[in-house]
Amino acid sequence: MPSRNLWKRNSERIKFRGLGVSPGVAIGHVRLFHVSTLDVGESVVIPQNVQSEVQRFQDAVAQTRIKLMELGKRVGQRGEDKALTEVLTMHLMLLEDKMIYDRAIQLIREERYGAEYALASVVREARKRYAGLPDLFRERISDVEDICRRIMDMLRGVHTQTLEDLDEEAVIVARDLSPSDTASMHREMVLGFVTEAGGKTSHTAILARALEIPAVIGVPGISRFAQDNDPIIIDGDTGYVILNPPPEDIKEYRDRQNQYQLRQSRLIQLAELEPITLDGYRIDLAANIEFATEVESIVKYRANGVGLYRTEYLFLNTYSVPTEEEQYRHYSEVAAKLAPKPVVIRTLDIGGDKFAHSLDTPHEMNPFLGCRAIRFSLANQPIFRTQLQAILRASVWKNLMIMYPLISSRSELVQAGQLLDSIKADFRRQGIPFDENIRVGAMIEVPSAVIIARDLAPLVDFFSIGTNDLIQYTLAVDRGNENIAYLYQPLHPAVLRMIVSIVNTGREFGLPVDVCGEMASDPVCALVLLALGIESLSMAPHAIPLIKQVVRSVVMVQLREFGAELLDLSSVADIRKRVQQALPKLVHDKDGLVANLYESNILADT
């Protein structure tokens, strides 16, 4: 790891990739947001000083209360919503809570702890107390940490940095943001968020989506590399973050920003329309989600259920594996809110580029070829069993399906199937209700699975093509590696032929085949997928309106003929050219959509 100072001077372009959790592009300057640490070295005061140490603590609390009440007044004056006021009320209550206030004073009096150390000990005790609780309660530890940080800053005589002080527009870069950080935020000044922490407990994700501000989370190291006022671009769709972007990047992302705004305004008009082609074929457009809270966006964008529920985000950023009960609550919340619309739950896809504190994943030279996804689940049966039990219990809504990621051999499906059968047998014995007809599917994202699809078909009810990994594995291209990013080609003939091969196997065995990778959300790729015979696409919810527009502008019969032609072409360049030529004939565009398609990056020469 290079020294911090060295990197501080570096103003080269650095590109990061995290998880885009709130769509849109933000271009601006960095405002680093630091929070002070709550870890304090042990300190003891001499007996004569105990009383003055108690006094010092009490003064700090009193000062903190005054600051909070002032903040409350300002928030009230800005007329912002009730939730913020509630957060502040909670904090004022915690400030006088016996388990914080009285306990810290007790530690100073009886153990002669220094005030800072007493406060740190209180936080440590609180963390222990919250650790084993169900999600909804455990997450509230952030309020305790938050308020204790304010007291700590007061004790140290440092100014507590707040997002309220923002005096110019900025992209906030932080390790993590707490509820009170965001509560006091000066909203008009925040262009976007980037945080190192990620996962479902990230308030940043939920808040950013609610405010419709672009956000990328789970970007380790960003707060070490970024400096105040560094130019920065964040793309909440793809999860890319570019620090010190050159003018080319800025131009490219300005264009994307404009496109995004155009897309947003189109949304409102499109929400009510059906995804039906001009010749009457209905195409299923479902949503990919990470969090139960995203159900609202499914309703907003009129998705036909969930084609991919990525459950690993339940496991990331927590210090304990979620219990069956917690998982059950998340799965059944989604199932209940969307029933009878289908919801495909993908079992844990950990490893690769996603790791959890709570799971003991091995360090590997080559994690994408390592113990990830179904391999991890089969090697950690108790975790897998817990997840399957939670899904089965939630299946009483009759709309859940189970999907296994990264299937590369028949035996993986057999083993997973045996485990599922044994759980079903247990449930029947114990009289626990579940959906006897729950459907299971294999994610097709490894070339071996494409080649043996006929052997997998009898073991499943559907196939779902994960194009991101299928492209990566088929072309042997790590798409996180910028040096070879140009080789990552969704329109590579090998990729198109793989997709057709799966579609054909699906037809032969009467299995539905859908696509749930990023290809589904690119309008040109979506068009090609339809041409290849795919009738069901799952994508980020906000992408649905544009893809719906594509669906509504094409004639399926015409598209299928075009698909057959594509398969004869032997290079990406030829395929691109053919698509470009055909677009005006294939897309019967009434609203000026084609212009948009021509600009797709997929068609750009690299």
């Binding site: 509630e86 809570d97 169900p134 309020d143 305790v144």
Partner: protein, 89 residues
């Protein structure tokens, strides 16, 4: 003055942040000690952290014990909140 009563938490999310705040506020100014007990665990009803970390979900059985001049008032205040599902639903 000693009073005791048992309630079942009925609102969907249980005693999460907002209901816990209401509960603590309803008794914090009363002249009595108030404790909540759930599954053998006890918490001071005047401590927001105590009430939250009981993790009382929907369907939990909570026993309230109050002692002091305002004990009856405390029981009554909590009963009302529980019955009104803390204004949720």
């Amino acid at each position: 003055m000693r009073h005791q009563a048992t309630f079942i938490i009925q609102n969907e999310l249980g005693l999460h942040a907002r209901p816990a705040m209401l509960l603590v506020q309803s008794v914090s100014r009363l002249t009595c000690d108030v404790y909540l007990e759930k599954d053998g665990l006890e918490a001071d009803a005047k401590s927001i952290m105590g009430v939250l970390t009981l993790a009382a979900e929907q369907g939990s059985r909570i026993t309230v014990r109050a002692e002091g001049p305002d004990a009856e008032k405390a029981i009554h205040a909590i009963k009302k909140l529980v019955e009104e599902k803390f204004g949720e639903d």
